[in-house]
């Protein structure tokens, strides 16, 4: 018995990465980033506004948070909808109380499904990020290029029309990509995306249609991962976020370079009555630290490009 000879050949064994999408670079070797007003820590909150269809195809896999029961899985369908009907209003109040301007990553399908909510977002003027068409439209290698491009176009068109914003940011549903996703994003006027979790600071990502920025948005600190996947308590989520905040502030102080604390939030999870208080306590801790700069992705990227 033996494996194919290919298994002991290593064509990408060379300096740097095993692909050409970005340069190998260690964070501590880079020029320190300076945030406006001498802030140490940029705080970016991103809120996901999502539609999980009842007739989930599950291709190529069921998205986290998607349907798990035989059709019709009304429990999960309606519980996700809860976030957009009820939970998100608790989040709005918390953001306003702590004077934070989050971004909202919105599925394109939400424009038709909840026009009142889109009108509220438009009125608030917070940055809108494209989040794919819906949570079952996963970008993956099995899609034809034309089909993936069509989903992207439809998503961006509907969000741009409905909000009047340019919409230059992208977060893929389930953060899944096809090998072409970054190229198509650049072709469709997207400037930054947040699927890759390999850095704590933005960096340049190469595509066939020019460079994108990647924005750091750690998966392992988001409410869904900590509370729903790991089954940690809400208190533990708060502790983890506060520990991250304190650590990054210290690292910013020691290194002289700005850091980013970014949190991805789901109204269907944290917007529940028993959880919202833990978000409030978390925000209270973060915003009471000196040197914290609540910022949007566009503000952060403007400071990076300066």
């Amino acid at each position: 018995m033996a494996l194919d000879a290919e298994f002991l050949r290593y064509p990408q064994r060379r300096h740097g990465m095993d692909h050409d999408r970005y340069q190998w670079s260690q964070l501590h070797e880079r020029r320190p980033l300076v945030w406006p007003g001498g802030a140490r820590l940029a705080l970016w909150l991103n809120v996901c506004v999502q539609f999980f269809p009842l007739d989930q195809s599950g291709k190529p896999f069921a998205p986290p948070g998607g349907m798990t029961m035989p059709y019709p899985d009304l429990r999960h369908f309606s519980l996700r909808d809860y976030g957009n009907r009820v939970g998100i209003f608790r989040l709005f109040e918390a953001f306003d109380r702590f004077r934070i301007r989050p971004s909202f990553a919105v599925n394109g399908a939400m424009v038709e499904r909840a026009p009142q909510l889109i009108a509220i977002l438009r009125e608030r003027g917070d940055e809108i990020v494209a989040h794919g068409w819906n949570m079952d439209c996963l970008h993956h290698a099995g899609l034809a290029r034309s089909e993936e491009a069509e989903w992207m176009q439809r998503t961006l068109d509907s969000l741009r029309d409905a909000t009047g914003q340019q919409v230059t940011g992208w977060l893929s549903p389930a953060r899944n990509e096809s090998p072409r996703t970054p190229d198509l994003l650049a072709e469709h006027g997207v400037h930054w995306f947040a699927d890759w979790v390999n850095d704590d600071l933005p960096y340049r990502f190469h595509t066939e249609a020019g460079d994108l920025w990647t924005m750091p948005l750690p998966n392992e600190l988001e409410d869904r991962f900590v509370i729903m996947h790991n089954l940690h308590s809400e208190r533990s989520w708060m502790e983890q976020v506060c520990d991250a905040c304190d650590f990054l502030l210290k690292e910013a102080e020691a290194s002289g370079g700005g850091r980013i604390l970014s949190l991805n939030l789901h109204p269907w999870l944290l917007g529940q009555p028993h959880r919202i208080t833990w978000l409030e306590r978390t925000l209270e801790h973060i915003t009471s630290q000196p040197g914290v700069w609540p910022a949007t992705p566009q503000q952060i990227l403007a400071a990076c490009a300066a």
């Binding site: 033996a2 298994f7 064994r13 095993d18 953060r175 850095d199």
Partner: protein, 312 residues
């Protein structure tokens, strides 16, 4: 397949000769940072998928890259602060991909041991010749880049064959981290009869097992490390123990987790009678002072057991 590879004989913890570590220490403490390279698009091993999601698994690949881009420097500075030299479980190809990391570790006198070529190339299905070639490639590559000829082994992604340890011993290896049967070093039987040992590398204290498999809260992980230390330290006064914390820069060095690790290091290094060692140093001390005793004691234990059962 066999029910037992017979790498070691049963030898109870109770009644063994006491191990005393250098300086009269009762506990040898080592930290083993895994510094790994995972390929975005490796060839598919017939028995184990490298990534749960279809190509490209952006999430899985990119969090591991985070360890090298961001996490490594953090952990290294932390270990510096507590006077701990890492014993690096190294994907040998990282010498080529990221020599900057290798140079920083070498400068600090860290140890490097082999963890295969890539953590996305599994041993499953390899012929003996293929596995030998892979092991020698990893040893030679590490020696070429660090000046150290590695003597320790942790199979890539803990993927083994029946002959993994035989082959590593034949390649000049001295110790393995692949076995989790004991809190002390023990002799390991290899077909060539080399003086070869296992040293404790805890699966339970491994950050990836704790965080990814067992999904433990960071502060609880920190507490588990302290609890693990307390008991091994207490028992070490009469038995002589080893405590290992195996880490991964993409797990332990995340901003929400580093505090727990730091507090545990602060606690452990605050005790007297703790020998801050590398894997190689632990192996060398054991081989020079206890291997023969352990080997003979284990054998006589077995002879006693067998004699007893025959005589009954």
């Amino acid at each position: 397949m066999r029910a037992d590879l017979e790498l070691y004989d049963y030898w109870p913890y109770r009644g063994r000769p006491q191990i005393v570590w250098p300086g009269g220490a009762r506990l040898a403490f080592w930290v083993a940072p895994n510094i790994e390279f995972y390929e975005l698009d490796p060839p598919q091993n017939p028995q184990r998928k490298p990534w749960p999601r279809p190509y490209p698994d952006v999430g899985g690949y990119s969090i591991r890259d985070y360890g090298n881009r961001v996490g490594h420097e953090r952990q290294m500075r932390l270990l510096d602060r507590y006077g701990i030299r890492g014993s690096v479980s190294l994907s040998a190809a990282l010498c080529e991909h990221h020599p900057e990391i290798i140079a920083a570790c070498a400068e600090r006198g860290w140890e490097f041991f082999s963890h295969g070529i890539y953590n996305t190339r599994y041993t499953y299905g390899m012929s003996e010749q293929q596995e030998r070639e892979m092991i020698l490639d990893s040893i030679d590559t590490i020696e070429r880049h660090t000046g150290q000829r590695p003597v320790g082994y942790l199979a890539p992604a803990l993927s083994h064959s029946e002959h993994t340890l035989d082959l590593f011993a034949e390649a000049g290896g001295v110790y393995t981290c692949d076995l989790f049967h004991d809190d002390q070093p023990t002799p390991v039987r290899v077909r060539g009869g080399q003086r070869f040992i296992s040293i404790p590398y805890s699966l339970e204290m491994n950050d990836t097992i704790a965080y990814v498999v067992n999904r433990i809260e960071p502060r609880r992980y920190g507490q588990m490390l302290c609890d693990n230390f307390d008991r091994l330290y207490q028992e070490g006064a009469t038995s002589g123990t080893v405590m290992c914390i195996p880490t991964h820069n993409y797990q332990v060095s995340c901003p929400h987790r580093l505090r727990a690790f730091e507090q545990a290091l602060e606690y452990i290094t605050g005790h007297s009678g703790v020998w801050l060692a590398t894997g190689r140093e632990i192996a060398e001390h054991f081989l020079a002072n206890y291997y023969d005793v352990a080997h003979a004691a284990a054998k006589s234990h077995i002879a006693r057991e067998r004699g007893g059962s025959h005589g009954a």
